[in-house]
């Protein structure tokens, strides 16, 4: 996927001897100085360099001292007392980003010259910068702020008028540009050109007046535009969605995955107290590298929608009443128990976690096993060749693994069963039958016992006999299997609002009410039970999945295309 991969080398790359700040070490061939330093815990500051983009070498922040082995008259390296090559240091500093290591190379990431270079570049970057940190969204995660403290000077020697440039420029549906803050690192231009093949950004004018721009009439509107905000090292590009919403230092960052499609891009959920403010991509070379699509990124606002279901509800006569869980679950279980297996069906969702699917499959077993028809609502989009999958369900593979999904092919049968009156009870989880499933009202009205477990109120929940309010992806722990068979973890960023419950707890309670308790109390225990019952997951635990997930080697091939 990446045309550039400066931080990754071939597994068989030969090791080279390189001296870093006086110490000889070995590194694989193909790395540049910034990456070499990173691997030994040294940081070479940089603005324009990005491991996944082409290298323009324009910011000059990564200047380091460089040397090559001193050669004698026979062009053989001169060795020092310790039998190591003596190094001939270049008088001029070199940029670390574009310098690939070679045998016997010497690097100084800290020296008076290097410090002087960084101080000089910092001063140059700041002289025409507006220094408007109090009203800048980047404050707190701005590389100018960060490096200024670490590498810059205390005072300013600039007494002239600053160069004026456009501010608050609306360059796209989701992006605002402040040209005075821009440091011309060209990351956004390169990202758009190289990763998205959408060449809309460019520099106009020149010299000190160089200005980042989109062509008049064109927009930075592609589905990856917000990645430019992530990689912008300063506050030049900001997200309209996040602008002025929250200071980043108040945000708690929770590692999770995007549930917008089957790719499962790794994310950080930025929340404060119980509100999610943003989602940003989290690096994972096996899944999404450093990126995610805008659609997935912004697809979290429903969590805080007014339609959010906050209390369990059951139908009493012609009315609906909030009903405590302790009352609702036994009543629902009793009603279900009265029905023979063939009269019950399940419409599950590819948005459920594996743990929820596992518990649901056990409930299904209690209710009659395969006689209880079950399927999910397929959600088809278009793959874009970058990150977006054609499957918009984040965990269709998981639902398939637990036998709850037939890729949507059983949905017609369920619907027919309802229409003919054969199926009387329907358990719907996280789906709107009148929306994405495309069922007519008459069918849904024909269900005698309609149970809806959902996050938001929808036309289907309006018709439900029981409404079981569940939790959003940001409010729960659990796992999902992406389209490529990789098991990944969701983590809880915020608490569940109102009396809504974590979905696995709802299902566990229902299962207990139907078939008795089974000693499961925590999500870890559910996961353990799940792995014991599922060969494809054997030997795994939530903690073993790790932050980056694991590829499932024994996952049965998917039936869905």
């Amino acid at each position: 996927m990446n045309p550039f991969n400066h931080d990754v080398t071939a597994p068989d790359a030969p090791l080279l001897n390189v001296q870093v700040d006086g110490e000889w070490m070995q590194f694989p061939k193909g790395l540049n100085v910034i990456e070499v330093a990173r691997r030994v815990g040294k940081f070479v500051p940089h603005y324009c360099y990005h491991p996944k983009l082409s290298i323009p070498g324009n910011c000059r922040m990564c200047l380091i001292e460089l040397g090559t082995p001193k050669l004698d008259a026979n062009r053989k390296p001169v060795l020092d007392a310790g039998n190591k090559p003596e190094i001939a240091w270049m008088p001029r500093p070199q940029i670390g980003c574009a310098t690939q290591i070679s045998e016997g190379m010497g690097i100084r990431t800290q020296s008076p010259l290097v410090e002087e270079c960084r101080k000089g570049v910092m001063e140059f970057l700041l002289i025409n910068h507006p220094l408007d940190c109090p009203i800048c969204d980047q404050a707190g995660e701005c590389k100018l702020q960060e490096y200024s403290v670490q590498y810059g000077s205390e005072g300013s020697r600039f007494t002239d008028d600053k160069v004026k440039k456009p501010k608050r420029v609306d360059i796209g549906e989701r992006i605002v540009l402040d040209d005075e803050r821009c440091i011309m690192c060209s990351r956004c231009i390169r990202f758009s050109k190289e990763m998205v093949k959408d060449d809309v950004l460019g520099f106009i004018d020149r010299g000190s007046h160089t200005t980042l721009a989109v062509h008049p009439g064109k927009r930075l509107d592609n589905n990856y535009s917000l990645n430019t905000v992530d990689i912008c090292p300063v506050g030049a590009l900001t997200s309209k969605d996040f602008r002025f919403q929250m200071r980043v230092w108040f945000l708690k960052e929770t590692k999770s995955v995007c549930t917008g499609c089957a790719t499962g891009c790794n994310t950080l959920i930025g929340s404060r107290e119980n509100l999610v403010y943003r989602q940003t991509p989290r690096e994972n070379e096996a899944v999404n590298s450093h990126w995610m699509c805008d659609q997935g990124r912004l697809g979290f606002h429903y969590i805080h929608a007014p339609e959010r279901l906050l209390e369990p509800v059951s139908k009493v006569g012609h009315g609906k009443l909030p009903t405590p869980w302790t009352e609702l679950i036994p009543r629902l279980a009793a009603q279900l128990r009265e029905l023979p297996a063939g009269k019950i069906a399940i419409v599950a969702s590819g948005r459920m976690t594996n743990e929820e699917a596992f518990l649901l499959s056990q409930i299904r077993k209690i209710l009659g096993g395969d006689a209880v028809l079950s399927d999910i609502v397929p959600r088809k989009g278009e793959a874009d060749g970058i990150l977006r999958s054609a499957d918009l369900n984040p965990n269709a593979r998981g639902l398939e693994l637990f036998g709850l999904s037939n890729g949507g092919q059983t949905l017609g049968q369920i619907r027919h069963g309802i229409d003919t009156g054969r199926i009387e009870a329907l358990i719907v989880l996280h789906e709107n039958l009148l929306g994405d499933a495309g069922w007519p009202l008459s069918t849904v009205q024909n269900v005698k016992l309609l149970v809806v477990q959902s996050i938001l109120a929808c036309p289907t929940s309006e018709l439900a006999d029981y409404i079981l309010p569940g939790a959003s992806f940001a409010e729960k722990r659990g796992s999902m299997i992406n389209g490529n068979g990789r098991l990944q973890r969701l983590n809880k960023a915020i608490s569940i609002p109102g009396q809504a419950l974590d979905d696995w707890q709802i299902l566990l309670q229902l299962k207990a009410a139907l078939g008795g308790g089974n000693g499961l109390h925590t999500i870890e225990e559910v996961f353990k039970a799940m792995t014991e019952a599922t060969p494809a997951l054997s030997g795994l635990s939530l903690s073993r999945i790790g932050d980056l997930g694991v590829d499932l080697k024994n996952l049965p091939a998917t039936a869905a295309k």
Binding site: R174, V176, I204, R206, A213, G296
Partner: protein
């Protein structure tokens, strides 16, 4: 409702306030592209068998010679011709000082500003032209045009004729050792 919708809160709409150079002037008449012009363009493109993009500068020169300046329509036309994005061409128009995004005078006087010409009286000569041609204060790009649009006077950097300072260009023609007397003669010549 569909959950995976990209939503932007309505309060976050940003009024487009900033204006880029080249973004204004919406009233450019769409130019009619003469056949012979397009033929010339096609010939020039053949000079770059490896990459059509190389023809960007030549095409901008041709456009400016034909239409006087590079309008937004010109940028779009050239971009389309070379299968590029318009920003690729706008980047060039704003980088290379010879390209204009607005009409200049019919008689364009460029006076060299750099050291040798300055030592030879280039500044005084430029002042002389400005007065003689009745041009006002220079705009943001340093171009001063007379109210009737007949003359424009501007400084340019070294024209590579330093031994015969001060030097100027009038339209595409070079003049060296330009005294005030010579300046008067030249103005007469171009008026005629």
């Amino acid at each position: 409702m569909s959950i995976n919708r990209v939503t932007v809160p309505a309060t976050q709409n940003i009024p487009p306030e900033a204006v880029y150079p080249g973004a204004h002037d919406s009233h450019h008449p769409a130019p009619v592209i003469p056949k012979d012009f397009e033929a010339e363009v096609d010939t020039v493109i053949t000079h770059y068998p490896v990459s059509k993009r190389s023809a960007s500068l030549p095409l901008l020169h041709l456009w400016q010679e034909k239409f006087g300046y590079v309008s937004p329509e010109g940028i779009e036309w050239i971009a389309a011709k070379l299968e590029l994005q318009p920003i690729n061409i706008l980047e060039l128009v704003t980088f290379y000082p010879m390209f204009r995004q607005h009409p200049a005078g019919k008689i364009q006087i460029k006076v060299c500003r750099t050291l040798s010409c300055a030592l030879g009286g280039g500044y005084a000569l430029c002042d002389y032209f400005r007065k003689k041609c009745n041009v006002g204060e220079p705009d943001a790009h340093g171009l001063a045009t007379s109210p009737d649009g007949k003359y424009s006077v501007e400084f340019v950097e070294c024209l590579a004729a330093c031994g015969t300072a001060p030097v100027i260009m009038i339209n595409d023609d070079f003049y060296e050792d330009v005294s005030n007397v010579k300046a008067d003669e030249l103005l007469l010549k171009y008026q005629g």
